[in-house]
Structure formats: structure tokens, C-alpha cells
């Protein structure tokens, strides 16, 4: 048995190709306004830290166009503790929430002790108070944690500022790169560069590995790459085409597509004992599997009715159910984190757009308005979808919040970016 092991040297991101940067296209007219007051500092602490932390939090909170901010120079006061905080100073400026904080101390190891508070101006109450200890070298990380807590308190949704994005960059006809970056586009890492196409990245639930398809050996082959070591492991060529790997919620297996003698079906692949178990068996095309959050079902695309439509299959009973009927192209479905709705690519009148559907209803809602949209991925809190689309001959990523508050794009400087895959939250 031949084993393919490759040691990959992590290339330091050289900024030639990419770096995603979010551009807000449309914000709603009535976004909540948040004031991010520069954090106070005790004497003896590096002066910049205060403004650095409040700016980082502000950048995070504004990242997807969900809030608007109050400029620092328009503020009437700069409180750093509750004692100096006056609601009228913020009410008069139309502010809905204020974030204040203070760096209280730094110890010999360079650990900062930071306290912060969030005020609801309209209700005139403090709604969040917290304290965090972290290293001077990790102000970005500390800011993300505070941002997550503030975001959760205001929206009731999990904060996603420490999540990551995987994507494929095609900088010219013969260069394909598997990349990951922080969700704000920072800290890009190129995991693998190839002259042959790369497809279908998917994060392991622990965020330590990525599965994807690479054509480096002449045909579609599934690899698992460890992000820490860079080591890549082919799960071995089976049949003609191996594609569309997706991790099970427990991280122990992949659902994937194997085409034995040219008939693609869905299989479950156990990572530990490397066995394949067949899930579907039909002469039509079955592909694009994805797990329900409770692991009980798998959604997939099949053309068994004559056009690509979405189905779900119970992994135990193998009972199948057709999920879509409207339109002649409904494909690559994924469940929402709550398992109650799905999102997918919906083709109608020659346009391919991202759409959602409640499992309990027939109605399909189209979210996007461009015509070549594909590969949608959802934030772990279920509020934002990022997808791939195209402008001229260049692919870029688009994004939309599901409450309709914001639309944004994530272009790359050169070449095309596609197949975004949002990481899970760190547990």
C-alpha cells in the first residue's frame, strides 16, 4: 500500500496575492450606534494600549456592517469607570451602547489586567461587566474575547471574532493555493500550493485539520492536512473520483463522494479505521453531502429526479426525503446551526443565487442578487453567510447578514478567490 505523506513548509504570507479585506457595501439605515471609548490606563502602563484595545474592539464590532460607531473626537467625555459615566453624554449623541474599560495593572510577566463594561443607554443600565487577564503580546486576542462578549450581550448571538476562514486562491491559470486567515483577513497562511486545481475545503470540528480535494496526482483525491505540522495525508484513491469531504460533528468521520466506475454516491469514511460505508446507491449523481448539526441526517444533491435537487438521508435508517421542488437547480445544501433551515445554491432563469428554506416550509427565499453565486458558508452563530461569486473573470467573496442589515464583499488584490469555508467556534 502506497502512502502519501508530504511535509509542507509553511510559507510565510507574502502579501503578493491576496489578503482579504471586508468592504461594507450596504448598511441598514437604522443600525445600533455604539461608542467605543478609549480604555483608561493606570500609570506605568504603555500609553497606547488603551486606544489599541478600544480600536480593536471597534473594528471587530463594525467588521460585518452590523453596527455604526461614534467617532472618538465627537465624544463629550472619556470615562473609564462607572463613576465617571453619565448616560446623558451619550443619549444626546444618539448612542445606543457604550463600551468603556481600563487597564488596571501589568505584572512582571507582561500580563495585563483589564476590566470593561457595556452600557445600554436607552435603558440606562450597565448590561455587562467583565475582567480579563492576558499577555501584552496578545492585545489582538484579548480584544477579540472582549468583542465576542459585547457582541453576545447586544445581539444574543455567539461572537465570531476569533473564527477563521479557509478559501482557495487561483492567482493565475496554473497556481492554486489552499489558504486560511482570521475572519478579518489577517494572519493569512498558505497551506498548500499546487499547479493543479484545489477544491472543497472543510474544517475539522476542533479546527486542527482541513480536508480538501487536490488534483495534484492527475485526478480528484481527498487530503487531510494538519494545520500545526503542515503534514498532508491522502485518504487514498478510491474509485475514479473522490470529492466533497465534510467532517462529521464529532470529527471521527468524513462524509464524502466516491465514484466507483463512474457512479458518484455518498459514503461515510471512518478516519481511525479507514473504512468506507455506503450511504446512497443510485445511478444518478449523488454528491455534496453535509451533516445535520445533530449528526443524524446528511443533506445531499442528487439528479435522480432529472435535475439537481436537495435530499436528506437518515444515516441510521437510510430513509430519504426530498427537500426542494421549486426551480430546476437546487444544490450544495448545508444546514443552519439550529438544524431547522437549510441554505444552498438555487438556479432559476439562468441565475445561480444563494437561497434559504425552512425545512418546515416549501418557500425558498433568495438572499443574493448576483448571477454566479456558489459555495455558501455560514458563520457558526448562524447570522452571516459568505459565498463565492464573480465579477468579470475574477472570483471574489460576498457576504450578507441574514437579518438583512448588511452586505459586504471580500475581494482579493490579484486573481480569484473562491470556496470559502467558515471555521467552527473554538470550544
Amino acid at each position: 500500500m502506497i502512502k502519501f505523506f508530504f511535509m509542507i513548509v509553511f510559507l510565510v504570507s507574502n502579501h503578493i496575492f491576496s489578503i482579504l479585506e471586508i468592504e461594507i457595501l450596504k448598511g441598514s439605515d437604522n443600525l445600533s450606534k455604539v461608542a467605543f471609548v478609549p480604555f483608561g490606563i493606570e500609570s506605568g502602563i504603555e500609553e497606547n494600549y488603551g486606544i489599541q484595545i478600544s480600536r480593536n474592539i471597534e473594528k471587530n464590532m463594525l467588521l460585518f456592517g452590523e453596527f455604526e460607531n461614534l467617532a472618538v473626537n465627537e465624544m463629550l467625555s472619556y470615562p473609564s469607570s462607572e463613576n465617571d459615566f453619565y448616560y446623558r453624554d451619550w443619549k444626546v449623541l444618539g448612542v445606543d451602547y457604550s463600551v468603556i474599560g481600563k487597564i488596571n495593572s501589568v505584572n512582571a510577566l507582561g500580563n495585563l489586567n483589564i476590566s470593561y463594561s457595556l452600557f445600554n443607554i436607552n435603558r440606562r443600565i450597565k448590561i455587562l461587566e467583565g475582567e480579563i487577564v492576558g499577555s501584552e503580546d496578545n492585545i489582538e486576542g484579548i480584544s477579540k474575547i472582549i468583542s465576542n462578549r459585547i457582541y453576545e450581550e447586544i445581539t444574543g448571538l455567539k461572537g465570531i471574532f476569533d473564527t477563521k476562514l479557509a478559501y482557495v486562491i487561483n492567482s493565475d491559470a496554473d497556481t492554486y493555493q489552499m489558504c486560511i486567515s482570521d475572519i478579518d483577513g489577517k494572519n493569512e497562511q498558505i497551506l498548500f500550493t499546487s499547479k493543479a486545481p484545489i477544491m472543497s475545503p472543510d474544517w475539522s470540528p476542533d479546527r486542527k485539520k482541513i480536508a480538501y480535494v487536490s488534483f495534484e496526482n492527475g485526478l480528484a483525491e481527498i487530503f487531510i492536512q494538519d494545520l500545526q505540522s503542515g503534514e498532508r495525508d491522502s485518504i487514498q484513491a478510491l474509485g475514479m473520483t473522490n470529492s466533497a469531504p465534510v467532517w462529521s460533528p464529532d470529527g471521527k468521520s468524513l462524509a464524502l463522494v466516491v465514484s466507483f466506475s463512474g457512479n458518484p454516491d455518498i459514503f461515510l469514511y471512518s478516519i481511525r479505521n479507514k473504512r468506507l460505508v455506503r450511504l446512497t446507491n443510485h445511478y444518478g449523481i449523488d454528491t455534496e453531502p453535509s451533516w445535520s448539526p445533530d449528526s443524524k441526517k446528511i443533506i445531499f444533491t442528487s439528479d435522480r429526479s432529472g435535475s439537481p435537487q436537495l435530499y436528506e438521508i437518515n444515516t441510521k435508517s437510510k430513509r430519504k426525503k426530498r427537500l426542494t421542488r421549486d426551480g430546476n437547480y437546487n444544490a450544495r445544501g448545508r444546514y443552519f446551526p439550529d438544524g431547522k433551515s437549510i441554505f444552498f445554491v438555487h438556479g432559476r432563469d439562468g441565475n445561480f443565487q444563494i437561497a434559504t428554506k425552512k425545512l418546515s416550509s416549501r418557500y425558498i427565499e433568495t438572499l443574493t442578487s448576483t448571477s454566479l453565486d456558489e459555495s455558501p458558508t455560514i458563520s457558526p452563530n448562524g447570522n452571516i453567510i459568505i459565498y463565492a461569486t464573480k465579477d468579470g473573470s475574477n472570483g471574489y467573496l460576498g457576504g450578507i447578514t441574514l437579518d438583512g442589515k448588511s452586505k459586504f464583499s471580500l475581494p482579493v488584490k490579484n486573481g480569484s478567490v473562491r470556496e470559502p469555508a467558515w471555521s467552527p467556534l473554538l470550544n
Binding site: P197, M199, M240, G347
Partner: protein, 159 residues
């Protein structure tokens, strides 16, 4: 067959068949790895490609894999060269519309249609290699009907 399945009664029959079949599949359908063709079989790619002066592409309609009379005619002309070759590589491709993984499967289906036609015409199936690139390797990168039509293809190469 397909048309039947689009009718309600057809869907019912299909559903019943699927139930029966998947029960049977439950029992024994676990597959050992490495019993099938692997990347090791792609070594011929290092060898020389045989040049012919024939048009080496077959084109398809959107989301379709059937060969029309023109395609079959082209393949007929190709047969003598194909029979001489040691390896026949059929590379299936799609246009950019629709989803990538589905297109990967569709490209494979297109290449298989060509293979099946060649086998019926007496070409040994053993020397035919089928691979799909889905929508990953378009000939034209623009987004219009003309480019899409050129990209929906099977490329034939002989070794």
C-alpha cells in the same frame, strides 16, 4: 426510464425500490480501500502525447451529458487513431454555472458517455482513462453563452 420517474407514480415506485435496495445495502455494503484504480495508474501522463490533426473536443448542453449526432460523427472519425493509441484519456469539463462538486460529477458523466460510445465501437475499455475536472479548468474565463459552450467539453488525448 427517467421520464417515468418524474411522474408521481414513478416517484412512488422509485421510493419503494430505494427502500428495498437500501435495506439490502445495509447488510454488506462496506468497501475495503485500495481495491480500485488509484493515482498510480496515471503514470502514462509522464509519457508522450500522440498528436493527431483531428478536433479533439466533444461539446455538451448545460447540465447534460448526452452525445448528439455531431459528437458521434466526430468520434467516429477519431476511431482509427484511438484504436492505435496505448492509452486514451478522456477529460470531462463543465461551465462555471451551478455548484463545483456537482459539476465534478457531471464532467465525469460526460467523459463516461464518450467512453461508453467508444467501447460500443470496439475500443478496449481497459485502455481508456476517465477523469473529470468539473468547472476547475475552463478554456475561457469569461461569463457568457459562448464561453460556457466552449467550456462544456470532453477533451480526448492519446498516449
Amino acid at each position: 426510464m427517467r421520464r417515468l420517474f418524474m411522474e408521481p407514480i414513478g416517484i412512488f415506485i422509485l421510493a419503494m425500490l430505494c427502500q428495498v435496495y437500501s435495506c439490502a445495502a445495509n447488510v454488506s455494503d462496506s468497501v475495503e480501500r485500495m481495491q480500485y484504480a488509484s493515482v498510480a495508474g496515471e503514470e502514462y501522463l509522464q509519457g508522450d502525447k500522440l498528436e493527431t490533426n483531428l478536433d479533439d473536443k466533444v461539446y455538451f448542453d448545460f447540465d447534460k451529458s448526452a452525445l448528439d449526432a455531431e459528437d458521434k460523427n466526430l468520434l467516429e472519425q477519431y476511431l482509427p487513431e484511438i484504436k492505435k493509441a496505448k492509452i486514451v484519456r478522456l477529460e470531462g469539463h463543465c461551465d462555471e454555472r451551478g455548484t463545483r462538486e456537482y459539476n465534478l460529477a457531471l464532467g465525469e458523466r460526460r467523459a463516461l458517455e464518450v467512453r461508453d460510445f467508444l467501447v460500443v465501437k470496439g475500443v478496449s475499455g481497459k485502455k481508456i482513462r476517465v477523469v473529470s475536472f468539473g468547472e476547475e479548468k475552463p478554456l475561457k474565463s469569461s461569463s457568457n453563452e459562448k464561453a460556457w459552450a466552449e467550456n462544456r467539453r470532453v477533451e480526448i488525448s492519446l498516449y
